[in-house]
């Protein structure tokens, strides 16, 4: 996994609440058996008209959003289906950070697994970011610093965010979580022995 330490990038805004993973990657594109190839279908049904042409009204299709790497989103982003394809698509499209008031649990976990930083800010800070993005007509960049746990722009905006230390460490170092867990082999083996004999924790309730 690519480590995430600090990122400066162009902001795209998608001010809609409850964006579900069916919108991020519609089901007709879940048949791939690879982790790649999802960028072209990100937000497919919003991004493209029924005839396959780009819909110029969709937020990510606006000229100022070209090359965006930071997505500002509405509350409860990533709700619904557990499909990790949603995170693969956002990453492959170029996003390194999604900032929202809240995220669905499985989506958040999937972000952590793929080095996509999901930043939670309070409603007032989100409103301010959306407003600054709108005032700049989309010509707007921010710096997201995971070490300092801050989001700043060059015009005085500054917000701090919280993240579980475990996730922060995983992202900062780009850790392979399976490798990390396998270091606990002795604990797993002990648990399995007690579980197997029926005398273990499995009956402790």
């Amino acid at each position: 996994m690519t480590p995430f330490v600090r990122h400066e990038g162009r902001v795209a805004a998608l001010p809609r609440v409850n964006v579900d993973t069916d919108q991020i990657v519609p089901k007709q594109f879940l048949k791939r058996i690879e982790r790649t190839g999802f960028a072209p279908v990100l937000f497919h049904d919003w991004r493209y008209r029924a005839d396959g042409s780009l819909d110029p009204a969709f937020e990510l299709n606006r000229p100022a959003a070209a090359g965006a790497t930071v997505l500002l989103a509405g509350a409860n982003f990533g709700c619904g289906s557990s499909r990790e394809h949603a995170v693969w698509a956002l990453s492959e499209y170029g996003f390194r950070v999604v900032i929202a008031e809240s995220f669905a649990d499985i989506f958040y976990a999937n972000c952590c697994q793929n080095g996509l930083l999901a930043v939670r800010l309070v409603p007032g800070e989100m409103r301010e970011l959306f407003a600054r993005h709108a005032r700049a007509a989309g010509d707007y960049d921010v710096v997201v610093d995971l070490e300092a746990q801050t989001v700043v722009d060059d015009a005085g905006f500054r917000a701090t965010f919280s993240i579980a230390p475990y996730h922060r460490e995983m992202l900062l170092r780009g850790l392979d979580e399976i490798g990390r867990t396998l270091l606990e082999e002795a604990h797993i083996a002990t648990y399995e022995r007690t579980r197997e004999t029926g005398n273990g924790k499995g009956e402790s309730w």
Partner: protein, 467 residues
């Protein structure tokens, strides 16, 4: 010992190790696998030279993208065929049991787990599918995970998880005739919203829950994720044990008796504290129907399409405006009487035998309305066989319904069963998201009896006044 919740009892008994900085390493008793969210996980194992730690605790089936019509022919969709083929090859390579298209046990993963007796009280169960919450109906802790976590469980039989919070959802009173498990859960989501339980495991309690069959409890737990919850749970009782007894993979004989004695302790102790609680009066609820593009956009069948102009919060107002435009609905329109084009009876939410019986009771001796196309997709091949043994297939066919093989089908439309743009569907599934059942398709979620009645009438009806 201090008083603990049902959730805490299951969680605590599965903690392998507490990791530094918060999360816990949780042991997984049952890992369910399907074709759509697993190929990249198996590929990851191969690339890293890792194996599956406990193949005997891992069970696979094909459900999401499979055709539900003729099974004697190869899958026509080459991408779907490749994905099914990948699971077949992976199951063989890693020694995992697979219920494939030829198996009489094939079905939707969340239907076959309980049906086989694989799902048992007190277990931790995971699957790369958000509706894994279904299995919580047995007093298991069951939740959906992403593909990277699928790979993690395959490799380690464990998962790194932050301990979630707990929420008690109590349904008091007895629901009126015609008001089902589906209506209870839709009403809850309408009340607390699609993020109302984010970060929480819900425990459902109260007389209305105790009064539900195990199948109804599965319907309730199934849609916990639509309220944002990590999982839903219900303490097991005699109904649960009766359901499990004699199932192929449930303990048998003396082992079953001992298991039941253990399972009986799986309840929330008096005085145990939840992080939050909410109470709903089941007796006051009518049948529920969604009008919008998420399951929280729901109303009583006697209600009307809401007017966004009355919503003070801008983000919510815009969401409703957007939903009404997508659904082609005007504010103030009564839900009852809304014309439909399609009926979908299926999904891990409502395609078990009781659901089919309930719907068949409504359609028996009648015909689907002329312009309506209606589909019944049993939740598993076992459900299909049981329904056929009871003659339900004839009831549906004679009424003009198509009778299919099992799979996820039109719940998510990964297979050829999809809505055309602009079509309006009465569906027993779990998500009414934009495009979920087909681009431009408009989904109204409801109970099996309500969907069946809508198919006969050609429009949404109040099942309480159905004669």
């Amino acid at each position: 010992m201090t008083a603990r919740t049902l959730f805490a009892k299951v969680w605590d008994s599965h903690v392998v190790h507490r990791l530094p900085d918060g999360p816990e390493l949780l042991y997984v008793d049952l890992h369910l696998v399907h074709e759509v969210t697993s190929p990249q996980a198996f590929e990851g194992l191969r690339l890293a030279g890792r194996g599956v730690r406990r193949p005997e605790l891992t069970v696979a089936t094909v459900d999401h993208n499979v055709p539900t019509d003729d099974r004697t022919r190869p899958i026509a969709d080459t991408l779907a065929a490749r994905q099914v083929g990948a699971l077949t090859a992976n199951a063989r390579e890693f020694g995992i049991e697979l219920f494939d298209l030829a198996s009489p046990r094939q079905g939707i993963v969340h239907v076959i787990g309980p049906e086989l007796g694989l799902t048992q009280p007190g277990m931790v169960i995971v699957c790369g599918d958000s509706h894994t919450s279904t299995h919580g109906a047995f007093g298991a802790l069951a939740f959906g995970i992403g593909t990277s976590e699928v790979e993690h469980v395959l490799a380690t039989q464990c998962l790194v998880v932050m301990r979630p919070k707990t929420m008690e959802v109590r349904f008091e009173g007895a629901p009126a005739p015609g008001v089902t498990a589906k209506d209870l859960i839709l009403a809850l989501i309408g009340r607390i919203g699609t993020a109302g339980a984010t970060g929480h495991v819900i425990e459902y309690t109260g007389a209305a829950i105790r009064g539900l069959s195990v199948e109804g409890r599965m319907t309730v737990c199934n849609m916990s994720i639509e309220a944002g919850a990590r999982a839903g749970m219900i303490a097991p009782d005699d109904r649960t044990f009766d359901y499990l007894q004699g199932r192929p993979r449930a303990p048998a004989g003396e082992r079953f008796t001992r298991a039941v004695a253990r399972w009986r302790r799986l309840c929330t102790d008096d005085g145990a504290a939840y992080d939050s609680r909410i109470t709903l009066d089941a007796a006051s609820l009518g049948p529920q129907v969604t009008w919008g593009t998420n399951p929280g956009m729901v109303a009583d069948i006697t209600g009307r399409v809401p007017d966004p102009a009355g919503i003070a919060i801008a983000a919510e107002r815009e969401a409703v405006e957007r939903a009404l435009a997508y659904m082609d609905l005007r504010p103030g329109t009564p839900l009852e009487g809304l014309a439909i084009d399609r009926v979908f009876l299926g999904s891990c939410t409502n395609a078990r035998i009781e659901d089919l019986r309930s719907a068949a009771g409504v359609v028996r001796g009648r015909r689907v309305a002329e312009r309506v196309r209606a589909l019944v997709v049993p939740g598993s091949q076992q459900v299909k066989a049981q329904a056929e043994a009871e003659g339900l297939d004839r009831v549906f066919r004679e009424a003009g319904f198509e009778w299919r093989n099992s799979g996820c089908s039109m719940c998510l439309g990964m297979n050829p069963d999809i809505l055309a743009s602009g079509e309006r569907c009465a569906a027993t599934s779990n998500r009414n998201f934009e495009g979920r059942q087909g681009r431009g398709g408009r989904t109204h979620l409801m109970s099996p009896a309500m969907a069946a009645a809508a198919g006969i009438a050609g429009h949404l009806v109040d099942i309480r006044r159905w004669t």
